[in-house]
């Protein structure tokens, strides 16, 4: 009743073709099928934000969609931002501002912040805090995450 569907998804610039069961969440497709474990799984019902990825450039909870829905789409995960020794500017800012401790929420924070920086002026720290309200962090108290994102805004186009 729930045969596999062939899908073709571009993840971080690499095209993957796989046959997936319809109920496979995009999160599990990324982590288990493709081995891209940078995307973390917290609540699996759209509350914690840990699994946030970019779908066709827009942030989305990967636990709230099925891999089969991503057929023909592009997905960007934390692995696409940068790598150890070659962090992207946002990752570098997180590093410099101590914006992570245990690191569990960090991939979701980074993908959310990437989209927030693209779509909103983030004129005040309240705007940044409101923008991050869908991503739970239990270590930092958010202060350093806000500072890391603020620094990106301060360094925006001169």
């Amino acid at each position: 009743m729930s045969g596999r569907h062939d899908i073709r998804v571009t993840v971080n610039g690499v095209v993957y073709e796989r046959a997936v069961e319809p109920r496979l969440l995009l999160t599990d497709f990324l982590r288990h099928t493709l081995g891209l474990t940078g995307t973390h799984v917290g609540c699996e019902h759209g509350v914690c934000g840990a699994c946030t990825v970019l779908l066709n450039g827009d942030s989305a909870r990967s636990c709230l969609m099925f891999a089969v829905q991503a057929d023909g789409c592009t997905v960007e995960t934390v692995e696409g931002l940068g790598r150890i020794g070659k962090l992207n500017p946002l990752q570098q800012s997180f590093h410099e501002h101590h914006a992570l401790q245990c690191g569990f929420c960090t991939p979701g924070m980074l993908m959310t912040a990437t989209d927030l920086l693209k779509k909103y002026p983030l004129a005040t720290d309240v705007d940044i805090r409101d923008g991050l309200s869908g991503n739970l962090c239990r270590c930092t108290g958010y202060e350093h995450i806000v500072k890391a994102i603020r620094a990106m805004k301060a360094e925006a186009p001169r």
Partner: protein
């Protein structure tokens, strides 16, 4: 936390979607933005045999000015509504309300049709549909019909939509000239469901209030219009002297529940206080003061 198995059908047209719904005999669900449906599937609160994905139907996401109304396709995402120049021009209250809907990642996916069909008792869009007298266009294999928002919301998570029907378009009649608006929401965190939210419009004519609309969410099983409070305002020049009566009438119009986040009494108090603020804002924007 994984969904039960289901059959997945991609609908390429509205006709195909409703045909699948009709054949499934009540055992199919429409998958739009999925931001409420997928959590329910993950928890296995729902176990439909078939999911009909309408995300690939062309021309189901649009915002169009048609003269006396604005037409919105059911698949229009929350973030599109939030940022649409057409909505900003004709329904600035809706642009503002959309910033209170969940978080960006959810607004990128969630749809107006999905939110209205799901009808969470604390969601913003059902309240806005009720406030703005939305006309909901519904289709099935049996034909088309139009339902007024005030007749659409029946109970918590229950709307006037049969199992073989699909909401396709939302028509919002434009507001008259000299209409001001106010919107206030209190939630535990930005983006959470409202403990209470109130939205109002006031239309002025010859120095007096010609029409007042007050809608609330989070304070009853469905969104509510405070009709008696609205009637108190019509014909008056300002709300100042009336305010105690108006907030009392707003509080009488609702039946808030007690839950983990707030008591019934607190929600009732909050609704009245927010109503006072939104009416003052609406009057000011309408040019009354």
């Amino acid at each position: 936390m994984k969904p039960a198995a289901f059959e997945y059908v991609v609908a390429n047209s509205i006709e195909q979607a409703v045909a699948v719904l009709a054949q499934a005999g009540g055992d199919a669900k429409i998958l739009a933005g999925g931001q409420s449906l997928v959590p329910m599937l993950n928890f296995r609160l729902l176990r439909p045999a078939i999911l009909v994905d309408i995300n690939r139907i062309p021309d189901l996401a649009f915002i169009e000015d048609v003269g006396d109304a604005v037409k919105i396709g059911a698949l229009t995402r929350h973030h599109q509504l939030e940022t649409s120049p057409v909505i900003a021009k004709h329904f600035p209250i809706l642009s503002y309300a959309m910033t209170h809907v969940a978080h960006l990642a959810i607004r990128n996916r969630g749809t107006i049709g999905g939110s209205l069909s799901h009808a969470d008792p604390a969601a913003e869009l059902p309240m806005m549909a009720l406030l703005l007298s939305a006309k909901l266009h519904i289709i099935s294999g049996r034909g088309k019909r139009i339902v007024e928002a005030r007749e659409f919301f029946l109970d918590a998570l229950t709307v006037d939509l049969a199992e073989d029907e699909l909401l396709t378009e939302i028509h919002l009649p434009k507001l008259p000239p000299h209409t001001g608006w106010g919107f206030e929401e209190v939630a535990r965190r930005a983006g959470d469901f409202a403990l209470a939210a109130v939205a109002a419009t006031i239309t002025m004519s010859a120095g007096a209030m010609k029409e007042a609309r007050i809608a609330l969410t989070g304070v009853a099983p469905t969104p509510v219009r405070a009709s008696e409070a609205e009637a108190l305002l019509v014909g008056q020049k300002s709300e100042t002297k009336l305010m105690a009566h108006v907030t009392e009438a707003v509080r009488a119009a609702i039946e808030p529940e007690t839950d983990l986040h707030a008591s019934s009494d607190y929600r009732r108090h909050l609704a009245g206080a927010l109503a006072g603020r939104v009416l003052a804002a609406a009057l000011q924007r309408a040019g009354a003061t």
